[in-house]
């Protein structure tokens, strides 16, 4: 009995610790993508190309998608246009 409680507590702790680093925005993005493929674009890319990497084809839209989905929610801190320009 004690062993079960310990295991359950441990599992809950692991879940908490692994989830605690995600922001609310990260969770929102994650909830919107619950399938095996990270996105429709990801799924389409995988279906088009062979799993073994033979004869791969990369389209411009794939690169754009990869760039935009760059680990969802973790975006680089970048200077704002208003710090550089005036219109």
């Amino acid at each position: 009995m004690r062993s079960r409680i310990t295991r359950a507590t441990l599992a809950a702790a692991v879940l908490f610790l692994t989830g605690a680093c995600a922001t609310s925005e990260d969770w929102k993005v994650w909830r919107e993508h619950t399938t095996h493929f990270a996105s429709g674009e990801h799924g389409f890319f995988s279906l088009r190309n062979n799993k073994d990497g033979s004869n791969p084809k990369v389209y411009r839209s794939d690169i754009e998608d990869a760039r935009n989905q760059n680990w969802w929610g973790i975006y680089a801190v970048t200077v704002s246009p208003t710090q550089i320009f005036q219109n």
Binding site: G43, F44, R60, E64, I84
Partner: protein, 228 residues
């Protein structure tokens, strides 16, 4: 799911990805309503076709860089007192994890990025029909952004950015090798940023680098109807 359902799903995915791909070059153009002066609006309206072609060219032919949203336009540097307009492009550069690049000091990374991408983009902009000879165009500008190497993996990544403005006469002479690189950088207005923090003006060296005009991305399929 039956075959019809799968086909419908794939069609929806295809339409979705095609729409986002087509929208990207258009999104790179600064909208007219963001400009605050008649000169800037007039330039943006007059050369809209050239700017869009330029954005499409970068999108399809230089896929290792990306124009940021509203990144192409006739801008002026922050703090400018007269309405001098610079044709400007802001690109984000995909920087592969390169140990050598990461060991360079910031000023050397900035010099390498400008030599590789900045000079080439400036040259391409001077070749857009009509713009360089327009009296209302004072100069050209490049904003280069890339991920700071070896960012702490436990923290949000940080970009490094170079923002450079140069008058068109100096640029023309520099590209024609009539103006030494040292004089070109002296005449340029530029700043470096780490994340949102202003680093300021660093010693900038410029050397020959034809990567951006010669590199070919492996397995890259050019979209139908496009030429580079």
């Amino acid at each position: 799911m039956n075959r019809l359902g799968i086909a419908a799903l794939m069609a929806a995915l295809l339409l979705g990805s095609a729409a986002s791909a087509m929208a990207a070059p258009e999104d790179g153009i600064t909208p007219l309503d963001l400009y605050t002066t008649a000169k800037a609006k007039s330039l943006a309206a007059t050369y809209r076709t050239q700017l869009l072609q330029f954005s499409e060219h970068i999108y399809h032919c230089l896929p290792w860089v990306g124009v940021t949203k509203n990144g192409i336009g006739f801008r002026q540097p922050k703090g400018a007192e007269s309405d001098d307009r610079y044709l400007s492009v802001w690109i984000s550069i995909d920087q592969a994890d390169d140990g050598r690049f990461g060991t360079l000091p910031l000023q050397r990374r900035v010099s390498a990025m400008f030599s590789r991408y900045g000079v080439d983009m400036l040259r391409r902009m001077t070749q857009l029909t009509g713009i360089a000879s327009d009296a209302d165009v004072y100069g050209f500008s490049v904003i280069l952004t890339w991920l700071k190497p070896d960012s702490d993996a436990t923290r949000q990544p940080i970009s490094e950015t170079l923002a450079l403005f140069i008058d068109k006469t100096s640029l023309r002479d520099f590209l024609a090798k009539r103006l030494p690189a040292s004089e070109f950088t002296t005449r340029s207005t530029f700043n470096v940023f780490e994340g949102k923090d202003l680093v300021g003006r660093l010693p900038l060296e410029v050397w020959e680098d034809n990567f951006n005009s010669t590199f070919k991305l492996k397995n890259y399929e050019l979209a139908k109807g496009q030429k580079c």
